[in-house]
Amino acid sequence: MKKLINDPLKVADELIDGLVEAYDGDCVKVGTRSIIKKEIPEGKVALLIGGGAGHEPIYHGLVGTNMADGAACGDIFAAPPPDIVLEATSAISRGNGVLYLYGNYAGDVMNFDIGAELSEEEGIEVKTVLITDDVCSAPPESKEERRGIAGLVLIVKMVSAASQSVETLDELERIAKLTVLQTRSVGVSMSPGSIPATGKPTFEIDEGLIGLGMGIHGEPGVSEIPMTTADDLTPQMLDLIFKDFTDDSDVDDLKEGDEILLFVNSLGATTMMECLICLRKAKEYLNKRGVRVYDTIVGPLVTCQEMSGISFSITKLNDELKRYWDVPCESVCYTKL
């Protein structure tokens, strides 16, 4: 495999520098490896996202106009160290608290937690909401243990919009929790990505199988199932999301008349063509159930190098969430008029 890089151990630093350039001046790099918005108003409740690199255009591509205030970036597939979290926190804090919003992985939780401790020592109030949208990674009873996968794009978009107008950190925390609660994803992986530093694939899988519920780093999923067609797989995956809304007593069922956001994500090597073919089937499925798609996103936004696979994410909207969704935004990862 040919990768167009330089020193394989420096890819994370170099890609961050490139990302800052992609912002054409709207965002800047601070400290070791954080990207923050150039202009953050005094008194704003700040929003910090982040995670490991190698999943571009997330996470750090979600900073921008009406998007997150900053992102703390780790090395490839590695949570950002506490120092970087602290640097980012200090740079975006405007005296009204900082919300940390990131995917629920042990490494991220530990590093962000230490970063939060260090930030609090500097007098910055920090709260944390974990993104846990991957329904395959734990049953509804222990959904707080779930991983964060592609649903984060929908979640970060809405929480970012809310953060422009909320008055308190508590209020933003409430909104973030609500958004996470109403957002669920199911993914499959078909072939592995590789770690630039080693060139090695992150996992192995038979040519005839796909990993249902596999994580975006190649973490194991619920089961390996035979490779199948787009029209066969799509309903199976959506069934799991619908079932999860039903099984989880903290949320209402997804039912006729509901409005949702739909996000079809490619893990990288899966083409837009495939995503669109699956989207076509997903819409048919949703139409049949009378669930209305308020807005659709599709594309390779949450990737894992040249891994192939796809995920569906659904947010069940209410009037409040719809208001946040409607806010225009601009970032390298996602822009909305």
Partner: protein
């Protein structure tokens, strides 16, 4: 030949050897994490230990504590990921137990390990049996309590063996923490990557003390 303790400069060399051994072992650690996780443990440890080497080669150290603490800080701030926080915590928590020490003997080793073990369990929330680095660290810490009276080279040898057998036992465990959790029963058969690192670390220390 029995050796009662290591002085500051010997301890410094010992930690440097640890760093070099881990760097060398990148492929083993990478493969271990590919089986059960995301395949980056080897690179992460390599990155951390490269930072440790740099730090230890450029600074001077007045006591044992500051060596381990510098190593922990270097790992914590260069690695990221679960193991950056955990291995950073290991060395920093362990260092805290060595206040003012100018010699690293078996009793210090035990104090280091017990504090490190506590620190890592507190930070990560894992217990023995969860199929994590704890399954090598905890037996090592227990062994060190039995070896307090031994010369440091012998105590390190015993601790390294305990860590290695802990690593081997982790093969049979079902993961209940970290990325491998979702594998459930399928996680059986492979050793935990972090446990592999622990075993390498203490084997390197023992090797240093025995040469």
């Amino acid at each position: 030949m029995a050796k009662e303790s290591l002085d500051v400069s010997e301890s410094l060399e010992m930690v440097k050897l640890v760093a070099r051994k881990i760097i060398e072992s990148e492929p083993i650690l990478t493969d271990a994490d590919r089986n059960l996780g995301d395949g980056d443990h080897g690179i992460g440890m390599q990155r951390g230990m490269t930072a440790v080497l740099e730090k230890l080669e450029s600074d001077s150290f007045a006591d044992i504590k500051s060596i381990f603490n510098a190593a922990g800080m270097a790992m914590m701030s260069s690695m990221g990921g679960a193991s950056g926080a955990l291995f950073g915590t290991l060395f920093r928590s362990g260092a805290k137990a060595l206040d003012g020490k100018l010699a690293f003997d078996s009793s210090s080793l035990s104090d280091f390990l017990v504090a490190a073990n506590e620190g890592v369990q507190a930070r990560g929330g894992a217990s023995p049996g969860d199929k994590t680095m704890i399954d090598a660290l905890d037996p090592a810490a227990n062994e060190s309590l039995q070896s307090k009276e031994l010369p440091i080279n012998e105590a390190l040898g015993a601790v390294a063996s305990a860590a290695e057998s802990g690593r081997d036992q982790s093969k049979d465990m079902v993961a209940t923490m970290g990325r491998a959790k979702t594998l459930g029963e399928k996680s059986v058969g492979h050793p935990d990557a972090g446990a592999c690192s622990i075993a390498i670390i203490f084997r390197a220390m023992a090797e240093f003390a025995n040469n």
